[in-house]
Homo-oligomer: 437 residues x 2
Amino acid sequence: MNRILAASVVKHAGKEIMVQGWLHKKRLLGGLTFINVRDRSGLVQVVVKDKGEVEKLRGLQIGTVLSVTGKVVEDERAPGGAEMHDAKLDVLVPVTDEPPIEIDKPLNHAPENLDTLFEYRPIGLRNLQETAIFKIQSGIVQALREYFYQNDFTDVRTPKLLATATEGGAEVFKMDYFGKEATLAQSPQFYKQMLVGVFERVFEIAPVYRAEPSATTRHMTEYVSIDGEMGFISMKELEEFLGGLLNYVIDYVWERYERELKQWSIAKPVLPKQIPAMSMAEIHEKYSKATGENSVGEKDLRPDEERWICEYAAKELGSEAIFVTDWPADEMKFYHKAQDGKPELADRLDLLFRGVEIATGSMRENDHKVLVRQLKEKAGGDPNDPGFKYFLMAMRAGMPPHGGFGMGLERLTEKIVGLNNVKEATLFPRDINRLAP
Amino acid sequence: MNRILAASVVKHAGKEIMVQGWLHKKRLLGGLTFINVRDRSGLVQVVVKDKGEVEKLRGLQIGTVLSVTGKVVEDERAPGGAEMHDAKLDVLVPVTDEPPIEIDKPLNHAPENLDTLFEYRPIGLRNLQETAIFKIQSGIVQALREYFYQNDFTDVRTPKLLATATEGGAEVFKMDYFGKEATLAQSPQFYKQMLVGVFERVFEIAPVYRAEPSATTRHMTEYVSIDGEMGFISMKELEEFLGGLLNYVIDYVWERYERELKQWSIAKPVLPKQIPAMSMAEIHEKYSKATGENSVGEKDLRPDEERWICEYAAKELGSEAIFVTDWPADEMKFYHKAQDGKPELADRLDLLFRGVEIATGSMRENDHKVLVRQLKEKAGGDPNDPGFKYFLMAMRAGMPPHGGFGMGLERLTEKIVGLNNVKEATLFPRDINRLAP
């Protein structure tokens, strides 16, 4: 008999079918045993009546792998609209140990319980609420890629093993590389810019590494960076592209993942086609006036300010996302471009969504001479360092006006699902305290 | 005026248009200057006649970023079927240095020249023949993902920073992780198996790391692994899936990348729908008989044997790919499954394509007790080691019969394009001698 998936059982009403999956739940009700069998498509409810069959289940725990035959009976109360009756069970793989974590009710996501959550991750992920997060994440990356492809981007893969810490700083992992030193990439920044000279538009969705010494709700030592870079564009076009991308992802997920989103009772974000933008100075002013705090003149937004401006944008501008523009040049990386005629401001933007920064982008300095000067002045870098040399080789060989952005996949997932910690949106998170599972 | 892409110029015959891109080639012919302008879509030929315009080009090198307006004239001899006349040039970014590597004729891929090829990679990739390799690679990953999605797989991301060398061996990169030791993942093996318990079918396309101490044509220290893993399948189904996947990729690429494939004058591989399979013992016998070498009884295929059996399969079986089945148990990893009733053979297969192994797969041992025994006996592993503990936690909680495979993206690309070294199919390759660019 061919295997039928749980989600398709309802299509076989009245027929004898076979499903295969995991014992997900077991209940005794008035002499009958009700079990839920889980497979990749979801759950099916099975009524076990025969004493010999009930006996087979005795002592078998959640997770037992089963092959079940039975007759399909439509029933609106059952998950999927049908259940299986007169079931015969075949135990493919018995499980006799009680699972270390309960998988049939929502797991505890309170901050003090996250360690337990991750300790039993291989089992806890079988909880359908947890599974939903990563089904949605799988959809998010599909949506991202579709949008990139539709906009003529080439999908690239750049190395994560580097000769030197390209952007320097303490947060770089170092390792022994056959007696030399190698570092792990913090971003594909220089590579994606070099590749603009080749493909004009490139994207990469791949892991990056930060030796982040504190365990926060926003940072991990390994995360997935969504990087896009485009030639022959302006700041305005970069902003439009990024706004379009976020809108595309949200629509895509809400069209296709209704069942998974329901697990988290999360509302679709309100996003206008054109996401509003506000200069950092204006945000500082508005925030200071509204809260009595004084952030005027500061070079960055405070975390509290990011939350505040998101709430403001949702209420006053009808958008759960907002661009922060006109960054002070002090916050510029050496490869960023200063604004034309306003050297005190950088052509940089951050995209805030539901209270947190999910992406940062900028126009890049494409004048080789200016770039070399900025490298020396802003980063104290040596143009002959192998970490800069090849990047500058490309920048010297003709680079159009270009810009791009990096977005954190886990932050985006966290905010779409409505979680509170980026680690909850990571299958197997890494921080200073956690290298396993 | 809106920018028109080079590939679309022919659609605007008779009209005045504007293109933007890189000066790719410059020729003087009878008082006229012919230039090719490159953008993300390809090349357009531009005829520059006006003396002032010709003057602008003087001293400007290949790579100069231009905005060009002119009238479109159809001409079958021009790339794309049309060229631009009466051109006016606007130099957006001048380039005055001669490029360190020629980009308008095929680059030298001879083994002794590869170092030069990679040294100037940021510029050399602008050569359209080089670009073609990675356009095709972008298509390969799209095809792979499509096939996985069509077959109900979930796209996952697993950590590359690990607590211990899960599969041991000398070829593991070690690094300092806040005073502890971390290693870089050699494969997502245990994670994808754990996730079969969650999603039933998962795939990941992500970098993996091998501290390979020799520079060969087949190995790199960082490469992209295509990993698939499926629950509730048999060896036969795994073989069919993998054969279907290769067929899908080949058809996809040959349908969409005609222009890029032409750059490498490569014929479409002959692949039957069902790729032939042969046991290792039979290959040893056939090879020994045909060549006079004696490999009978050996535990692996010799590189020369891999080439030979591929030639044999192409000639005698009408297939440029072949599965090698029935591996001796000596070559088994501890998580592989021995064949039912034949403990001396493993349920493992390799997929050879055009002379080289591009994928290896197996059924996995899903009986927790047998698995623990094999871990101790075959790998000398400690079940309480964090590198095994969580894997075993999942395997104990109910795992169906499952299997999967790992495939090297660069090897697949190399063989599709017809290259001779896996590094040629890598944007920025890494080996013992090369960490930059």
